[in-house]
């Protein structure tokens, strides 16, 4: 009767030799015992194979020695030979022999370049505050200085710089930082914030300067054309202070006083100037405009996320318009309103008062990983009496933070209506996906509102999240004028 059984073998690979096999069972019987010719053939093949492998693996050069030699005076005696001098073929003895063979050819482990690179990169820490990414790089960090990304407005593009945050003032309820930023498009700026939260009160001082040489202007009104793009330079500085009071944890009201200096100039990039494109009489061209800004604000936050006040500085004029707080809400609502009076300090007739209202709703679905719907409505109305508003201080929509199917600042006018809607779902542990639609309109007067011709954009976006916060997003959107791709830090709303 034929029986066939192949038992498992222990295969061992030593560092310098080809794998060899310790047969636990090596017999393979397929019938009657093999004859002498077959047995010799088998042995001969085994012998030749062993000799070839042995010659192949013999190193031609000296092998690196182990970094330390075992203390032979303490070595366990070779127990593979018993007292009668017969070789011990027990299993334990076999396993000991394998270990001794490995010990004779061991080499020190040296991490590869990839291992060292991964170890270095994984030591990075980081934090994302609205629209900026601050890194903690252990081996680069010197005296409280940190690399930072983001933080410049307009058409700055990719921005990077250094941020100084002194640890003596560090804490969850305190803020003290200064930064220096720049971008490859020639933008640069500096900023400072200092303040804290003291019980129900929040207060801080701020200052900022930005050099923005490649800003775009397409004209005023909803019917501006993309092919009439003009370029300009704006140097803007702001300094001021803000105070707020929380009558209850979810509410905040307060005010700020700021001084803003605006310097207009010719832009870079070879585009027509604003004066050439739209006339030299456009408000804001040629004059330096300084404002004393007096503002008041109110906020009510009933979302289901931990409320991070972020020192209230999102109401300060140092923060980008239509700014958001990057918290992942799935339920509740948020409401913010503010009024700011801009008083010209150079006697020009450019005073104006602006009212804004920002409302957001979050409607949960909660089916598997479909979070729900998120909506935002934003309205801004500017009242200037008979005065004029510099074109660069007009409200605008277009770009990553408003109307995503259009480039940044595409439509400008005194007044803005904007609505955003998203369906959000989780696709990965740290990435959400959103299908969105944006609708926006700019107008000079309420009578000019044309509900039949808003600007619409729609698209698909992905958000990188961690610990309840959106760190960054990629949005691909389409509008009437084509496709737009937006990369931004933080969420839109």
């Amino acid at each position: 009767m034929k029986t066939f059984y192949r038992a498992p073998r222990v295969s061992v690979r030593t560092p310098d030799a080809a794998a060899f096999t310790i047969p636990i069972v090596s017999a393979q019987m397929t019938g009657p015992s093999p004859g002498p010719i077959r047995r010799v053939t088998v042995l001969g093949i085994a012998l030749v194979t062993t000799l070839i492998l042995g010659a192949w693996s013999t190193p031609r050069t000296a092998r690196a020695q182990p970094t330390s030699r075992p203390d032979r005076s303490r070595t366990v005696p070779d127990s593979s030979w018993n007292r009668e001098g017969v070789r011990d073929t027990s299993r334990a003895a076999r396993w000991r022999r394998v270990r001794r063979q490995k010990a004779q050819s061991m080499e020190e482990h040296r991490p590869s370049f990839v291992e060292r690179a991964v170890s270095f990169v994984s030591s990075f820490g980081g934090a994302v505050v609205p629209h900026r990414l601050i890194l903690d790089v252990p081996r680069v960090e010197i005296a409280d200085f940190h690399p930072v990304f983001g933080g410049l407005e307009g058409n700055a593009g990719t921005t990077a710089g250094v941020l100084y945050a002194p640890t003596f003032w560090a804490g969850e309820q305190r803020l003290a930082e200064a930064e220096l930023l720049g971008s490859l498009r020639g933008y640069y700026g500096t900023g400072m914030r200092f303040g804290g939260v003291f019980g129900p009160y929040v207060g801080y001082a701020y200052a900022r300067y930005q050099h923005r040489p490649r800003e775009s202007f397409y004209g005023v009104g909803p019917d501006s054309q993309v092919d009439t793009e003009a370029g300009f330079r704006l140097d803007q500085g702001v300094v001021g202070g803000l105070l707020g009071w929380s009558p209850r944890p979810s509410a905040l009201l307060g005010g700020h006083v700021s001084y803003q200096a605006n310097r207009y100039g010719t832009g870079q990039g070879g585009r027509p100037t604003v004066a050439d494109q739209f006339g030299a009489t456009l408000p804001g061209i040629g004059d330096d405009v300084d404002y004393l800004m007096l503002g008041a604000f109110f906020e009510l936050d009933a979302r289901d996320t931990p409320y991070t006040r972020a020192f209230g500085h999102r109401f300060a004029p140092t923060e980008p318009r239509l700014r958001g707080v990057s918290l992942d809400a799935s339920r509740g609502f948020y409401l913010a309103s503010e009024v700011t009076h801009n008083l010209s300090m150079r006697g020009q007739d450019v005073d104006f008062t602006r009212f804004t209202l920002d409302v957001r709703e979050f409607v949960p679905i909660g089916k598997e990983l479909l979070h729900g719907f998120s909506f935002r409505q934003f309205a801004s109305v500017t009242h200037s009496g008979g005065g004029r508003v510099p074109f660069y201080r007009l409200q605008s929509i277009g770009g990553a933070r408003s109307l995503r199917g259009y480039p940044s600042g595409r439509f400008r006018d005194r007044n803005v209506l904007l609505a955003n809607g998203e369906v959000r779902c989780q696709i990965w542990h740290w990435i959400d996906m959103a299908v969105f639609a944006d609708v926006g309109h700019v107008f000079r007067d309420v009578r000019d509102v044309d509900a039949a011709d808003p600007r619409v954009g729609y698209g698909l976006g992905f958000r990188v999240k961690n610990d309840g916060k959106t760190l960054g997003r990629v949005d691909v959107a389409r509008g009437r004028e084509g496709w737009e791709l937006h990369l931004d830090l933080g969420s839109l709303f």
């Binding site: 970094t67 073929t89 598997e368």
Partner: protein, 557 residues
Amino acid sequence: MCAAFFDSTRGLRVRCAGGLLCLLALLGGSPSSAAAQRFLSDDPLWHDPDRMDMPFPEPTPSDRGIGPLEFFERSFGVPGEYAVPAKNVNTVGGVPNSSWYTNRHYRSPMSPAALRQGPNQGPGPSARSPWRVVELGPPGGLPRAIIRDTTGRPFRILFDAPAHPEMATGAAMISSRLLHALGYNVPQHWLRRVRAGRLVPEPDSGVTQSRVDSLLASAAQRPDGTYRALVTRIPDVERRIGPFQFKGTRADDGNDVFPHEDRRELRGLRIVAAWIHHSKIRPRHTLDVGVQVEGRRFVRHYLTDLHLTLGSAGATPKSEWSGHEHVLELGRIFERIGTLGLSGGDWAEVVPPDNAAVGRFGIGGFDPRAWRPEWPNLAFQRTTPADAFWAAKKIRNFSREDLRVIVSTANYSSAEVADYMVRTLLARRDAIGQAFLNWGGGLDRFAVRSGRLTFEDLRAAYGQAPDTLRRTVTWRAYDNRADAVSPVLTRMTSSREAVPLPDYSPSYLRASLVTPRAGTTRVYVRQTEQGQASPGGRLRRRVVGVERTAPSTAERP
């Protein structure tokens, strides 16, 4: 003499003799055919000689994990049906005691006191004088530090997060006892109540009292003003080497010869990790240490960071997806993109327990076959049914009382929490038993007593199968040198857990126990002549081999 083999002018006889002598020389000169035997004199081996005196390996970074290439390979590769058996097992499918593993509760039932004591062989930190803080842990995560007690011994202490008191420390106490009883090496774990003034900075360590106070300010505080501290220590450490990997071997450790992905205790750890929800297991939560015992230096391999087990992810509960998915599974991502999240995430609807001390740990949504760690590793992906059976039988062996004793070491302030933990561990234990104890028919603990082959039907013992199930038992003689079997000696059917040995005296007998719809277990019995005065009769019989197969691959018995 070897050259003679290649000289074609010599006769065949000379070539035969030369080749034979060469081969015999390579085999060590023994004229015996020991190399051809399946069972050797010391089978089944229960002590792996892997604690030979070897130089300590060089330390490796503690954050060394799997490389990016291996991560993508593990995430995108399809392991498929991996049928290669584990390489470090003995002939009865067990894992010999080694620097990795020690057979404990399943082989030799531990008393309640021993279960409660767990790995704590030796005194804990001194209870009287202040502890000197030598080093503070990194910011973020749980507050932790390294201290020295009055005897100068170093300990690591860890506190709970204020939002989740008792969660991390309780998990560590329970899991350390469970893993120790299962056989794994774990640090010693104690729970201590610490007052603020107990921790003082070590002189010249760079630690200041204000930093110590900041550490305690970020820890959960009990109503009486004290702090609950988890104190851990690994004894006899002469060198902290670094984490071990779940694949390959350590190149500079002479004792490490079995690829880690083929070690049964590491493959079976996947089932254990599923039981205690150790979904965060990865190399950085392991530790190799160099120890010296009886003059021999070798590496001992530990599982650490046990505060990341059960419902705890450290300062926060585990994520919803933990245990259900790897960190990256592209198929599920595309499924969710296509369905807007309506498919590919059924774990999101599992309601977690509403208790800060429990975290996210329950029986809802638990499937032991589908459970996986957050970070894939090769050893877990190579777990075979035999490896799973090995681990499952040890897990299922824990009784309700055993688990109650072990959970009591967590010293939860709420009896409800302790009761919940026991019930959850029991439920997960039962689910693991249902999933993996079928292998080969679910039979174990083979022994020869009074001329009978005795065993335990694990499935019947745990109520998973009727105890009246009849199985077919076939006896044959076995030729250990030729690995061949004789024609059938006897055949019977029986539902009992003891069958008589046939009255034949070959050196080896093989019994095939076929359990309907469950598989086949083959048991090898060695028979040796004893002295006539021996009370056991003239033959000394011993079980030397066990192998199990599934029903679809079973050969004819």
